[in-house]
Amino acid sequence: MGEVVLSAHRESRELVKAIESASRTKTSLCYQCGKCSAGCPVGFAMDYTPRQIIRLLQLGLIKEALQAKSIWICATCDTCSTRCPRGVDIASIMDALRREALKQGKVVKEVSAFNQAFLNSVKRYGRNHEASLVLEYNARIMNPFKNAEQGPMMMAKGKLKILPEFIKGKGEVSRIFEKVKAMGGDHE
Protein backbone atom coordinates (compact mmCIF):
# COMPACT_ATOMS: atom_id res chain seq x y z
CA MET A 1 0.00 0.00 0.00
CA GLY A 2 1.23 3.48 -0.86
CA GLU A 3 1.25 6.66 1.13
CA VAL A 4 -1.93 7.61 2.98
CA VAL A 5 -2.82 11.30 2.88
CA LEU A 6 -4.96 12.35 5.79
CA SER A 7 -5.37 16.08 5.28
CA ALA A 8 -4.99 18.16 2.22
CA HIS A 9 -3.17 21.46 1.89
CA ARG A 10 -5.17 24.61 2.06
CA GLU A 11 -4.40 25.47 -1.57
CA SER A 12 -5.79 22.11 -2.63
CA ARG A 13 -8.97 22.72 -0.67
CA GLU A 14 -9.34 26.10 -2.29
CA LEU A 15 -8.87 24.66 -5.75
CA VAL A 16 -11.56 22.07 -5.02
CA LYS A 17 -13.85 24.93 -4.02
CA ALA A 18 -13.09 26.69 -7.29
CA ILE A 19 -13.93 23.50 -9.23
CA GLU A 20 -17.20 23.22 -7.28
CA SER A 21 -18.20 26.80 -7.94
CA ALA A 22 -17.33 26.52 -11.65
CA SER A 23 -19.58 23.45 -11.88
CA ARG A 24 -22.19 24.83 -9.48
CA THR A 25 -22.30 21.72 -7.33
CA LYS A 26 -20.94 20.33 -4.06
CA THR A 27 -18.87 17.19 -3.69
CA SER A 28 -19.77 16.94 0.02
CA LEU A 29 -23.31 15.92 -1.01
CA CYS A 30 -21.96 12.64 -2.38
CA TYR A 31 -22.42 9.60 -0.11
CA GLN A 32 -20.43 7.33 -2.42
CA CYS A 33 -23.26 5.05 -3.52
CA GLY A 34 -21.63 4.44 -6.89
CA LYS A 35 -24.71 4.82 -9.07
CA CYS A 36 -22.78 7.21 -11.33
CA SER A 37 -20.08 4.64 -11.94
CA ALA A 38 -22.44 1.71 -12.44
CA GLY A 39 -24.14 3.56 -15.27
CA CYS A 40 -21.06 5.22 -16.77
CA PRO A 41 -20.69 3.97 -20.37
CA VAL A 42 -16.93 4.63 -20.32
CA GLY A 43 -16.28 3.41 -16.77
CA PHE A 44 -14.64 0.30 -18.23
CA ALA A 45 -11.81 2.38 -19.67
CA MET A 46 -11.21 4.72 -16.73
CA ASP A 47 -8.38 4.65 -14.17
CA TYR A 48 -10.59 6.28 -11.49
CA THR A 49 -14.37 5.77 -11.76
CA PRO A 50 -16.57 8.90 -11.48
CA ARG A 51 -17.33 7.98 -7.85
CA GLN A 52 -13.60 7.80 -7.13
CA ILE A 53 -12.98 11.17 -8.77
CA ILE A 54 -15.58 12.70 -6.43
CA ARG A 55 -13.92 10.93 -3.49
CA LEU A 56 -10.53 12.39 -4.45
CA LEU A 57 -12.08 15.85 -4.40
CA GLN A 58 -13.81 15.22 -1.07
CA LEU A 59 -10.37 14.39 0.34
CA GLY A 60 -8.79 17.43 -1.27
CA LEU A 61 -6.60 15.29 -3.53
CA ILE A 62 -6.97 17.67 -6.45
CA LYS A 63 -3.58 16.90 -7.99
CA GLU A 64 -4.51 13.24 -8.35
CA ALA A 65 -7.88 14.16 -9.84
CA LEU A 66 -6.28 16.50 -12.39
CA GLN A 67 -3.84 13.80 -13.44
CA ALA A 68 -6.49 11.10 -13.81
CA LYS A 69 -6.94 9.75 -17.32
CA SER A 70 -10.65 9.50 -16.53
CA ILE A 71 -11.32 13.18 -16.99
CA TRP A 72 -10.26 12.86 -20.65
CA ILE A 73 -12.14 9.60 -21.16
CA CYS A 74 -15.42 11.04 -19.87
CA ALA A 75 -17.68 11.47 -22.91
CA THR A 76 -19.82 14.16 -21.22
CA CYS A 77 -22.96 12.08 -21.78
CA ASP A 78 -24.40 13.29 -18.47
CA THR A 79 -25.79 9.90 -17.39
CA CYS A 80 -24.08 10.26 -13.98
CA SER A 81 -25.55 13.70 -13.24
CA THR A 82 -29.01 12.59 -14.35
CA ARG A 83 -28.99 9.55 -12.07
CA CYS A 84 -27.23 10.92 -8.97
CA PRO A 85 -29.66 10.59 -6.04
CA ARG A 86 -27.91 13.50 -4.28
CA GLY A 87 -28.02 15.86 -7.22
CA VAL A 88 -24.24 16.11 -7.66
CA ASP A 89 -23.47 17.37 -11.15
CA ILE A 90 -20.60 14.99 -11.81
CA ALA A 91 -20.41 15.68 -15.55
CA SER A 92 -19.95 19.41 -14.91
CA ILE A 93 -17.20 18.62 -12.41
CA MET A 94 -15.43 16.58 -15.10
CA ASP A 95 -15.73 19.56 -17.45
CA ALA A 96 -14.36 21.95 -14.83
CA LEU A 97 -11.48 19.53 -14.10
CA ARG A 98 -10.62 19.39 -17.80
CA ARG A 99 -10.52 23.17 -18.02
CA GLU A 100 -8.36 23.40 -14.89
CA ALA A 101 -6.00 20.69 -16.18
CA LEU A 102 -5.73 22.61 -19.44
CA LYS A 103 -4.85 25.76 -17.49
CA GLN A 104 -2.13 23.87 -15.61
CA GLY A 105 -0.82 22.18 -18.74
CA LYS A 106 -1.74 18.69 -17.47
CA VAL A 107 -3.45 17.43 -20.57
CA VAL A 108 -3.91 14.36 -22.69
CA LYS A 109 -2.20 15.44 -25.88
CA GLU A 110 -4.74 13.91 -28.29
CA VAL A 111 -7.79 15.53 -26.71
CA SER A 112 -6.41 19.02 -26.29
CA ALA A 113 -4.87 18.83 -29.77
CA PHE A 114 -8.27 17.96 -31.21
CA ASN A 115 -10.04 20.73 -29.33
CA GLN A 116 -7.47 23.34 -30.32
CA ALA A 117 -7.52 22.22 -33.96
CA PHE A 118 -11.32 22.37 -33.96
CA LEU A 119 -11.47 25.83 -32.42
CA ASN A 120 -8.75 27.16 -34.73
CA SER A 121 -10.80 26.03 -37.71
CA VAL A 122 -13.84 27.87 -36.32
CA LYS A 123 -11.81 30.97 -35.54
CA ARG A 124 -10.29 31.02 -39.02
CA TYR A 125 -13.34 30.24 -41.19
CA GLY A 126 -16.32 30.85 -38.90
CA ARG A 127 -17.29 27.22 -39.36
CA ASN A 128 -15.62 23.91 -38.77
CA HIS A 129 -13.88 22.51 -41.83
CA GLU A 130 -13.20 18.79 -41.28
CA ALA A 131 -10.29 18.41 -43.69
CA SER A 132 -8.28 21.28 -42.17
CA LEU A 133 -9.24 20.09 -38.70
CA VAL A 134 -7.83 16.61 -39.27
CA LEU A 135 -4.68 17.97 -40.95
CA GLU A 136 -3.97 20.32 -38.05
CA TYR A 137 -4.82 17.64 -35.48
CA ASN A 138 -2.46 15.16 -37.14
CA ALA A 139 0.29 17.77 -37.24
CA ARG A 140 -0.20 18.51 -33.55
CA ILE A 141 0.03 14.86 -32.52
CA MET A 142 2.77 14.24 -35.13
CA ASN A 143 0.94 11.34 -36.77
CA PRO A 144 0.24 12.36 -40.37
CA PHE A 145 -1.83 9.27 -41.20
CA LYS A 146 -4.25 9.15 -38.26
CA ASN A 147 -7.85 8.77 -39.53
CA ALA A 148 -6.43 8.96 -43.06
CA GLU A 149 -8.47 6.00 -44.33
CA GLN A 150 -11.73 7.84 -43.68
CA GLY A 151 -10.95 10.85 -45.87
CA PRO A 152 -11.41 9.11 -49.24
CA MET A 153 -14.45 7.18 -47.90
CA MET A 154 -16.17 10.41 -46.97
CA MET A 155 -15.15 12.16 -50.13
CA ALA A 156 -16.67 9.38 -52.23
CA LYS A 157 -20.01 10.01 -50.50
CA GLY A 158 -19.77 13.78 -50.99
CA LYS A 159 -19.31 14.31 -47.26
CA LEU A 160 -15.96 16.04 -47.17
CA LYS A 161 -15.15 19.38 -48.73
CA ILE A 162 -11.56 19.85 -49.81
CA LEU A 163 -11.61 23.62 -49.48
CA PRO A 164 -13.04 25.48 -46.51
CA GLU A 165 -15.97 27.86 -46.87
CA PHE A 166 -15.45 31.28 -45.34
CA ILE A 167 -18.48 32.93 -43.85
CA LYS A 168 -18.90 36.67 -44.36
CA GLY A 169 -18.96 37.25 -40.62
CA LYS A 170 -15.72 35.36 -39.92
CA GLY A 171 -14.31 38.62 -38.58
CA GLU A 172 -17.15 38.71 -36.07
CA VAL A 173 -16.39 35.16 -34.97
CA SER A 174 -12.67 35.73 -34.49
CA ARG A 175 -13.55 38.92 -32.57
CA ILE A 176 -15.63 36.76 -30.16
CA PHE A 177 -12.51 34.63 -29.58
CA GLU A 178 -10.37 37.73 -28.95
CA LYS A 179 -12.94 39.36 -26.71
CA VAL A 180 -13.46 36.22 -24.59
CA LYS A 181 -9.70 35.94 -24.21
CA ALA A 182 -9.45 39.57 -23.15
CA MET A 183 -12.19 38.91 -20.60
CA GLY A 184 -10.06 36.19 -19.03
CA GLY A 185 -10.75 33.15 -21.24
CA ASP A 186 -8.49 30.09 -21.29
CA HIS A 187 -8.16 29.18 -24.95
CA GLU A 188 -4.94 29.58 -26.95
Binding site: W72, C77, A91, L102, G126, Y137, V180, M183
Partner: protein, 396 residues
Protein backbone atom coordinates in the same frame (compact mmCIF):
# COMPACT_ATOMS: atom_id res chain seq x y z
CA UNK B 1 -45.27 27.42 -39.29
CA UNK B 2 -42.10 29.48 -39.64
CA UNK B 3 -38.82 28.67 -37.92
CA UNK B 4 -35.25 29.91 -38.09
CA UNK B 5 -33.07 27.08 -39.38
CA UNK B 6 -29.58 26.42 -38.03
CA UNK B 7 -27.98 23.63 -40.09
CA UNK B 8 -24.62 23.65 -38.31
CA UNK B 9 -21.35 22.44 -39.82
CA UNK B 10 -22.26 18.72 -39.95
CA UNK B 11 -25.39 19.15 -42.04
CA UNK B 12 -23.25 20.81 -44.66
CA UNK B 13 -20.65 18.04 -44.73
CA UNK B 14 -20.50 14.66 -42.95
CA UNK B 15 -24.26 14.65 -42.36
CA UNK B 16 -25.23 16.15 -45.69
CA UNK B 17 -28.18 13.73 -45.98
CA UNK B 18 -29.56 15.03 -42.67
CA UNK B 19 -29.61 18.53 -44.17
CA UNK B 20 -31.16 17.33 -47.46
CA UNK B 21 -33.85 15.32 -45.68
CA UNK B 22 -34.67 18.07 -43.17
CA UNK B 23 -35.32 20.50 -45.99
CA UNK B 24 -37.29 17.94 -47.97
CA UNK B 25 -39.37 17.07 -44.92
CA UNK B 26 -40.08 20.74 -44.21
CA UNK B 27 -41.26 21.21 -47.78
CA UNK B 28 -43.55 18.17 -47.63
CA UNK B 29 -45.04 19.30 -44.30
CA UNK B 30 -45.35 22.99 -45.30
CA UNK B 31 -42.95 24.17 -42.63
CA UNK B 32 -41.20 27.39 -43.62
CA UNK B 33 -37.49 27.29 -42.71
CA UNK B 34 -35.55 30.56 -42.71
CA UNK B 35 -31.85 29.67 -42.74
CA UNK B 36 -29.98 31.94 -40.32
CA UNK B 37 -27.95 34.15 -42.68
CA UNK B 38 -24.19 33.71 -42.41
CA UNK B 39 -24.49 31.32 -39.45
CA UNK B 40 -21.31 30.29 -37.64
CA UNK B 41 -20.18 27.17 -35.77
CA UNK B 42 -21.61 26.53 -32.28
CA UNK B 43 -18.20 25.47 -30.93
CA UNK B 44 -19.52 21.99 -30.04
CA UNK B 45 -17.81 19.96 -27.34
CA UNK B 46 -14.38 21.42 -28.09
CA UNK B 47 -15.44 24.86 -26.87
CA UNK B 48 -17.07 23.75 -23.64
CA UNK B 49 -14.09 21.57 -22.75
CA UNK B 50 -11.87 24.59 -23.27
CA UNK B 51 -13.57 27.76 -22.11
CA UNK B 52 -16.96 28.34 -20.54
CA UNK B 53 -17.70 31.84 -21.85
CA UNK B 54 -16.54 30.93 -25.35
CA UNK B 55 -18.81 27.87 -25.26
CA UNK B 56 -21.93 29.96 -24.74
CA UNK B 57 -20.89 32.97 -26.83
CA UNK B 58 -20.35 31.02 -30.07
CA UNK B 59 -23.94 29.65 -30.16
CA UNK B 60 -25.29 33.00 -28.95
CA UNK B 61 -24.07 34.79 -32.11
CA UNK B 62 -26.51 32.69 -34.16
CA UNK B 63 -29.30 32.81 -31.61
CA UNK B 64 -29.08 36.59 -31.49
CA UNK B 65 -29.69 36.76 -35.26
CA UNK B 66 -32.82 34.60 -34.91
CA UNK B 67 -33.94 36.66 -31.92
CA UNK B 68 -33.83 39.84 -34.01
CA UNK B 69 -36.15 38.07 -36.45
CA UNK B 70 -38.43 36.95 -33.60
CA UNK B 71 -38.17 33.27 -34.52
CA UNK B 72 -37.61 30.06 -32.61
CA UNK B 73 -34.71 28.00 -33.97
CA UNK B 74 -34.75 24.50 -35.42
CA UNK B 75 -31.36 22.84 -34.81
CA UNK B 76 -31.49 19.28 -36.22
CA UNK B 77 -27.94 18.40 -35.09
CA UNK B 78 -28.20 17.08 -31.54
CA UNK B 79 -24.81 18.56 -30.58
CA UNK B 80 -25.72 22.05 -31.82
CA UNK B 81 -29.17 21.71 -30.22
CA UNK B 82 -27.61 20.83 -26.88
CA UNK B 83 -25.14 23.73 -26.93
CA UNK B 84 -27.85 26.20 -27.96
CA UNK B 85 -30.23 25.05 -25.25
CA UNK B 86 -27.41 25.27 -22.70
CA UNK B 87 -26.71 28.83 -23.86
CA UNK B 88 -30.38 29.85 -23.55
CA UNK B 89 -30.58 28.20 -20.14
CA UNK B 90 -27.53 30.00 -18.78
CA UNK B 91 -28.38 33.40 -20.22
CA UNK B 92 -31.89 33.17 -18.75
CA UNK B 93 -30.65 31.97 -15.37
CA UNK B 94 -28.12 34.71 -14.68
CA UNK B 95 -28.05 38.41 -15.50
CA UNK B 96 -24.28 38.38 -15.07
CA UNK B 97 -23.84 35.62 -17.66
CA UNK B 98 -26.12 37.52 -20.02
CA UNK B 99 -24.09 40.71 -19.78
CA UNK B 100 -20.83 38.78 -20.29
CA UNK B 101 -22.22 37.11 -23.42
CA UNK B 102 -23.49 40.43 -24.76
CA UNK B 103 -20.07 41.98 -24.12
CA UNK B 104 -18.34 39.13 -25.98
CA UNK B 105 -20.78 39.41 -28.92
CA UNK B 106 -21.03 43.17 -29.04
CA UNK B 107 -24.79 42.88 -29.72
CA UNK B 108 -27.84 42.43 -27.46
CA UNK B 109 -29.08 38.92 -26.69
CA UNK B 110 -31.63 37.95 -24.05
CA UNK B 111 -32.61 34.37 -25.02
CA UNK B 112 -36.19 35.41 -25.77
CA UNK B 113 -36.62 32.61 -28.34
CA UNK B 114 -36.14 28.87 -27.94
CA UNK B 115 -34.22 26.25 -29.86
CA UNK B 116 -36.02 23.01 -30.69
CA UNK B 117 -34.97 19.63 -32.06
CA UNK B 118 -36.58 17.75 -34.93
CA UNK B 119 -38.27 15.48 -32.36
CA UNK B 120 -39.87 18.41 -30.55
CA UNK B 121 -40.86 19.94 -33.87
CA UNK B 122 -42.70 16.80 -34.98
CA UNK B 123 -44.07 15.44 -31.70
CA UNK B 124 -45.06 18.75 -30.11
CA UNK B 125 -45.22 21.73 -32.47
CA UNK B 126 -46.40 20.06 -35.64
CA UNK B 127 -48.23 17.28 -33.83
CA UNK B 128 -48.53 13.60 -34.60
CA UNK B 129 -52.19 13.80 -35.67
CA UNK B 130 -51.19 16.40 -38.21
CA UNK B 131 -48.23 14.28 -39.32
CA UNK B 132 -50.47 11.21 -39.73
CA UNK B 133 -52.53 13.05 -42.35
CA UNK B 134 -49.39 13.59 -44.47
CA UNK B 135 -48.24 9.96 -44.55
CA UNK B 136 -48.71 8.51 -48.04
CA UNK B 137 -46.23 5.60 -47.96
CA UNK B 138 -46.50 4.09 -44.49
CA UNK B 139 -43.40 2.20 -43.32
CA UNK B 140 -45.39 -0.92 -42.43
CA UNK B 141 -43.17 -3.87 -41.61
CA UNK B 142 -40.20 -1.74 -40.55
CA UNK B 143 -38.82 -2.48 -37.06
CA UNK B 144 -36.39 0.31 -36.25
CA UNK B 145 -34.55 0.82 -32.96
CA UNK B 146 -35.07 4.47 -31.99
CA UNK B 147 -31.74 5.75 -30.76
CA UNK B 148 -31.82 9.10 -28.96
CA UNK B 149 -28.24 9.16 -27.65
CA UNK B 150 -27.23 11.52 -24.87
CA UNK B 151 -27.39 15.05 -26.24
CA UNK B 152 -31.11 15.20 -27.01
CA UNK B 153 -32.37 14.18 -23.57
CA UNK B 154 -29.65 15.32 -21.16
CA UNK B 155 -29.01 17.38 -19.08
CA UNK B 156 -32.71 17.36 -18.14
CA UNK B 157 -32.65 20.96 -16.94
CA UNK B 158 -31.34 22.06 -20.33
CA UNK B 159 -33.26 19.83 -22.77
CA UNK B 160 -36.19 18.59 -20.68
CA UNK B 161 -38.77 17.67 -23.32
CA UNK B 162 -38.63 13.89 -22.99
CA UNK B 163 -37.69 11.26 -20.41
CA UNK B 164 -33.90 11.00 -19.95
CA UNK B 165 -33.94 7.21 -19.47
CA UNK B 166 -36.82 5.97 -21.62
CA UNK B 167 -37.79 8.71 -24.07
CA UNK B 168 -40.79 8.06 -26.32
CA UNK B 169 -41.09 10.94 -28.80
CA UNK B 170 -39.14 9.29 -31.63
CA UNK B 171 -40.93 5.98 -31.05
CA UNK B 172 -44.27 7.77 -31.36
CA UNK B 173 -43.13 9.49 -34.55
CA UNK B 174 -42.10 6.12 -36.01
CA UNK B 175 -45.46 4.58 -35.08
CA UNK B 176 -47.22 7.50 -36.77
CA UNK B 177 -45.23 6.68 -39.91
CA UNK B 178 -46.54 3.09 -39.72
CA UNK B 179 -43.35 1.44 -38.41
CA UNK B 180 -43.13 -0.85 -35.36
CA UNK B 181 -40.18 0.36 -33.27
CA UNK B 182 -38.57 -2.29 -31.05
CA UNK B 183 -38.19 -2.15 -27.29
CA UNK B 184 -34.52 -2.05 -26.40
CA UNK B 185 -32.11 -1.05 -23.67
CA UNK B 186 -29.66 1.35 -25.32
CA UNK B 187 -31.97 4.21 -26.33
CA UNK B 188 -30.02 6.86 -24.43
CA UNK B 189 -26.68 5.12 -23.93
CA UNK B 190 -23.78 7.25 -25.18
CA UNK B 191 -22.08 6.04 -28.39
CA UNK B 192 -18.81 7.72 -27.48
CA UNK B 193 -18.67 9.80 -30.63
CA UNK B 194 -16.78 12.53 -28.79
CA UNK B 195 -13.94 10.05 -28.42
CA UNK B 196 -14.09 8.84 -32.02
CA UNK B 197 -11.06 10.70 -33.31
CA UNK B 198 -8.93 10.84 -30.19
CA UNK B 199 -9.58 7.48 -28.46
CA UNK B 200 -11.05 5.34 -31.20
CA UNK B 201 -10.95 1.93 -29.46
CA UNK B 202 -13.11 3.05 -26.54
CA UNK B 203 -15.61 4.53 -28.97
CA UNK B 204 -15.77 1.34 -31.05
CA UNK B 205 -16.58 -0.73 -27.94
CA UNK B 206 -19.41 1.62 -26.95
CA UNK B 207 -20.92 1.67 -30.43
CA UNK B 208 -20.58 -2.12 -30.69
CA UNK B 209 -22.75 -2.60 -27.59
CA UNK B 210 -25.46 -0.37 -29.07
CA UNK B 211 -25.51 -2.16 -32.44
CA UNK B 212 -25.50 -5.56 -30.72
CA UNK B 213 -28.49 -4.77 -28.49
CA UNK B 214 -30.47 -3.34 -31.41
CA UNK B 215 -29.84 -6.47 -33.48
CA UNK B 216 -30.68 -8.80 -30.58
CA UNK B 217 -33.99 -7.06 -29.99
CA UNK B 218 -35.04 -7.61 -33.59
CA UNK B 219 -34.36 -4.21 -35.12
CA UNK B 220 -33.95 -4.05 -38.89
CA UNK B 221 -32.51 -0.55 -38.75
CA UNK B 222 -31.57 2.27 -36.38
CA UNK B 223 -33.08 5.76 -36.38
CA UNK B 224 -31.21 8.71 -34.98
CA UNK B 225 -31.42 12.50 -34.81
CA UNK B 226 -27.72 13.11 -34.24
CA UNK B 227 -25.00 13.44 -36.91
CA UNK B 228 -22.23 12.26 -34.58
CA UNK B 229 -24.17 9.15 -33.57
CA UNK B 230 -24.93 8.53 -37.23
CA UNK B 231 -21.29 8.78 -38.19
CA UNK B 232 -20.38 6.27 -35.51
CA UNK B 233 -23.16 3.77 -36.15
CA UNK B 234 -23.02 3.99 -39.94
CA UNK B 235 -19.47 4.86 -41.03
CA UNK B 236 -17.76 2.83 -38.30
CA UNK B 237 -20.12 -0.17 -38.53
CA UNK B 238 -17.83 -2.04 -40.91
CA UNK B 239 -14.78 -1.52 -38.70
CA UNK B 240 -16.79 -2.71 -35.69
CA UNK B 241 -17.99 -5.83 -37.52
CA UNK B 242 -14.39 -6.59 -38.39
CA UNK B 243 -13.04 -5.96 -34.90
CA UNK B 244 -15.70 -8.05 -33.14
CA UNK B 245 -16.00 -10.74 -35.84
CA UNK B 246 -19.71 -10.28 -36.36
CA UNK B 247 -22.23 -8.99 -38.87
CA UNK B 248 -24.89 -6.37 -38.20
CA UNK B 249 -25.87 -4.98 -41.56
CA UNK B 250 -28.11 -2.39 -39.91
CA UNK B 251 -28.90 0.67 -42.03
CA UNK B 252 -28.88 3.85 -39.93
CA UNK B 253 -31.44 6.54 -40.81
CA UNK B 254 -32.00 10.10 -39.78
CA UNK B 255 -35.52 10.56 -38.46
CA UNK B 256 -36.07 13.23 -41.15
CA UNK B 257 -35.19 10.77 -43.93
CA UNK B 258 -37.91 8.38 -42.78
CA UNK B 259 -40.50 11.14 -42.32
CA UNK B 260 -39.81 12.43 -45.82
CA UNK B 261 -39.92 8.91 -47.32
CA UNK B 262 -43.19 8.06 -45.55
CA UNK B 263 -44.62 11.33 -46.82
CA UNK B 264 -43.82 10.47 -50.41
CA UNK B 265 -40.15 11.24 -51.10
CA UNK B 266 -38.05 8.72 -53.04
CA UNK B 267 -35.25 7.41 -50.76
CA UNK B 268 -32.30 8.60 -52.91
CA UNK B 269 -33.70 12.15 -53.03
CA UNK B 270 -33.24 12.47 -49.27
CA UNK B 271 -29.70 11.13 -49.40
CA UNK B 272 -29.93 7.41 -48.58
CA UNK B 273 -27.30 6.78 -51.28
CA UNK B 274 -24.77 8.60 -49.17
CA UNK B 275 -24.89 6.11 -46.30
CA UNK B 276 -22.01 3.69 -45.75
CA UNK B 277 -24.30 0.79 -44.84
CA UNK B 278 -26.58 0.17 -47.84
CA UNK B 279 -29.94 1.81 -47.07
CA UNK B 280 -32.28 1.43 -50.05
CA UNK B 281 -33.03 -2.32 -50.22
CA UNK B 282 -34.88 -2.27 -46.91
CA UNK B 283 -37.72 -0.22 -48.41
CA UNK B 284 -38.28 -2.76 -51.21
CA UNK B 285 -38.46 -5.55 -48.61
CA UNK B 286 -41.06 -3.82 -46.45
CA UNK B 287 -44.27 -5.10 -48.15
CA UNK B 288 -43.19 -8.73 -47.71
CA UNK B 289 -42.17 -8.09 -44.10
CA UNK B 290 -45.45 -6.35 -43.33
CA UNK B 291 -47.37 -9.30 -44.78
CA UNK B 292 -45.39 -11.78 -42.68
CA UNK B 293 -45.99 -9.70 -39.55
CA UNK B 294 -49.74 -9.55 -40.25
CA UNK B 295 -49.89 -13.31 -40.77
CA UNK B 296 -48.00 -13.93 -37.54
CA UNK B 297 -50.36 -11.62 -35.66
CA UNK B 298 -53.39 -13.38 -37.19
CA UNK B 299 -51.96 -16.75 -36.18
CA UNK B 300 -51.48 -15.55 -32.64
CA UNK B 301 -55.03 -14.18 -32.67
CA UNK B 302 -56.48 -17.53 -33.76
CA UNK B 303 -54.98 -19.20 -30.74
CA UNK B 304 -57.37 -17.12 -28.66
CA UNK B 305 -55.23 -16.16 -25.71
CA UNK B 306 -52.12 -15.99 -27.85
CA UNK B 307 -49.18 -14.22 -26.32
CA UNK B 308 -49.04 -11.56 -29.01
CA UNK B 309 -52.66 -10.63 -28.47
CA UNK B 310 -52.32 -10.43 -24.71
CA UNK B 311 -49.27 -8.26 -25.15
CA UNK B 312 -51.05 -5.98 -27.58
CA UNK B 313 -54.20 -5.69 -25.47
CA UNK B 314 -52.49 -4.86 -22.21
CA UNK B 315 -50.96 -1.50 -23.04
CA UNK B 316 -54.23 -0.40 -24.63
CA UNK B 317 -56.09 -1.05 -21.38
CA UNK B 318 -53.44 0.73 -19.35
CA UNK B 319 -53.62 3.69 -21.73
CA UNK B 320 -57.36 4.16 -21.22
CA UNK B 321 -56.97 4.35 -17.45
CA UNK B 322 -54.28 6.99 -17.76
CA UNK B 323 -55.26 10.55 -16.82
CA UNK B 324 -55.62 12.92 -19.74
CA UNK B 325 -52.42 14.94 -19.32
CA UNK B 326 -49.14 14.89 -17.46
CA UNK B 327 -50.35 17.77 -15.28
CA UNK B 328 -53.39 15.79 -14.14
CA UNK B 329 -51.26 12.74 -13.46
CA UNK B 330 -48.77 14.84 -11.45
CA UNK B 331 -51.51 16.46 -9.38
CA UNK B 332 -53.34 13.21 -8.65
CA UNK B 333 -50.10 11.60 -7.52
CA UNK B 334 -49.12 14.63 -5.43
CA UNK B 335 -52.52 14.63 -3.69
CA UNK B 336 -52.05 10.99 -2.80
CA UNK B 337 -48.78 11.89 -1.07
CA UNK B 338 -49.76 15.15 0.65
CA UNK B 339 -53.01 16.14 2.30
CA UNK B 340 -51.74 19.72 2.54
CA UNK B 341 -52.94 21.48 -0.63
CA UNK B 342 -50.09 23.93 -1.09
CA UNK B 343 -47.47 21.21 -0.65
CA UNK B 344 -49.35 18.99 -3.08
CA UNK B 345 -49.43 21.81 -5.62
CA UNK B 346 -45.69 22.40 -5.28
CA UNK B 347 -44.99 18.71 -5.70
CA UNK B 348 -47.32 18.44 -8.67
CA UNK B 349 -45.37 21.16 -10.43
CA UNK B 350 -42.10 19.28 -10.00
CA UNK B 351 -43.63 15.96 -11.02
CA UNK B 352 -45.10 17.42 -14.19
CA UNK B 353 -41.71 18.70 -15.25
CA UNK B 354 -39.95 15.46 -14.34
CA UNK B 355 -41.96 12.46 -15.48
CA UNK B 356 -39.13 10.08 -14.52
CA UNK B 357 -39.33 11.19 -10.89
CA UNK B 358 -43.11 10.94 -10.98
CA UNK B 359 -42.95 7.33 -12.14
CA UNK B 360 -40.43 6.50 -9.42
CA UNK B 361 -42.51 8.17 -6.73
CA UNK B 362 -45.64 6.32 -7.82
CA UNK B 363 -43.70 3.09 -7.52
CA UNK B 364 -42.50 3.92 -4.01
CA UNK B 365 -45.97 5.04 -2.98
CA UNK B 366 -47.42 1.67 -3.88
CA UNK B 367 -45.00 -0.08 -1.56
CA UNK B 368 -44.57 2.31 1.36
CA UNK B 369 -46.43 5.56 1.93
CA UNK B 370 -44.11 6.75 4.71
CA UNK B 371 -41.12 6.40 2.44
CA UNK B 372 -42.90 8.20 -0.40
CA UNK B 373 -43.60 11.09 1.97
CA UNK B 374 -39.89 11.34 2.84
CA UNK B 375 -38.86 11.24 -0.81
CA UNK B 376 -41.39 13.97 -1.63
CA UNK B 377 -40.11 16.12 1.27
CA UNK B 378 -36.56 15.74 0.01
CA UNK B 379 -37.66 16.70 -3.49
CA UNK B 380 -39.36 19.88 -2.28
CA UNK B 381 -36.34 20.79 -0.15
CA UNK B 382 -34.01 20.27 -3.07
CA UNK B 383 -36.12 22.46 -5.34
CA UNK B 384 -36.30 25.20 -2.73
CA UNK B 385 -32.53 25.07 -2.35
CA UNK B 386 -31.97 25.19 -6.09
CA UNK B 387 -34.29 28.14 -6.32
CA UNK B 388 -32.49 30.12 -3.64
CA UNK B 389 -29.11 29.17 -5.16
CA UNK B 390 -30.38 30.43 -8.52
CA UNK B 391 -31.43 33.73 -6.99
CA UNK B 392 -28.07 34.10 -5.28
CA UNK B 393 -26.43 33.41 -8.63
CA UNK B 394 -28.45 36.22 -10.17
CA UNK B 395 -27.37 38.62 -7.46
CA UNK B 396 -23.74 37.63 -7.92
Amino acid sequence: MRLAYYPGCSLDATAIEYGMSTQKMAKLLDIDLWEIPDWSCCGASSAHQTDHLLAISLPARNLAIAEREGLDVLAPCAACYNRMRATEYEVRASAKTRSQVEEALGIPYEAAQSTISVLELLAERYGLDNLATRVTNPLKGMTPACYYGCLLVRPVAVTGFDDPEDPQSMDRIMKTLGASPVDWAFKTECCGAGLGVTQTDICLEMTYQILRNAKEMGADSIVTACPVCHLNLDMRQKAIEKKYQTEFNLPVFYVTELVAIACGAEPPTVGTNRHFVEANTIFRQLPAKAKAMEEAAAQAGKKGKGAAKAKAAKPAAAESEKPATDEDAGLILAQKVYDDESKAAQLAEILTQEPARAAKLAEILEQDKGKALKVADALLAKKAKEKSAGEEGNKA
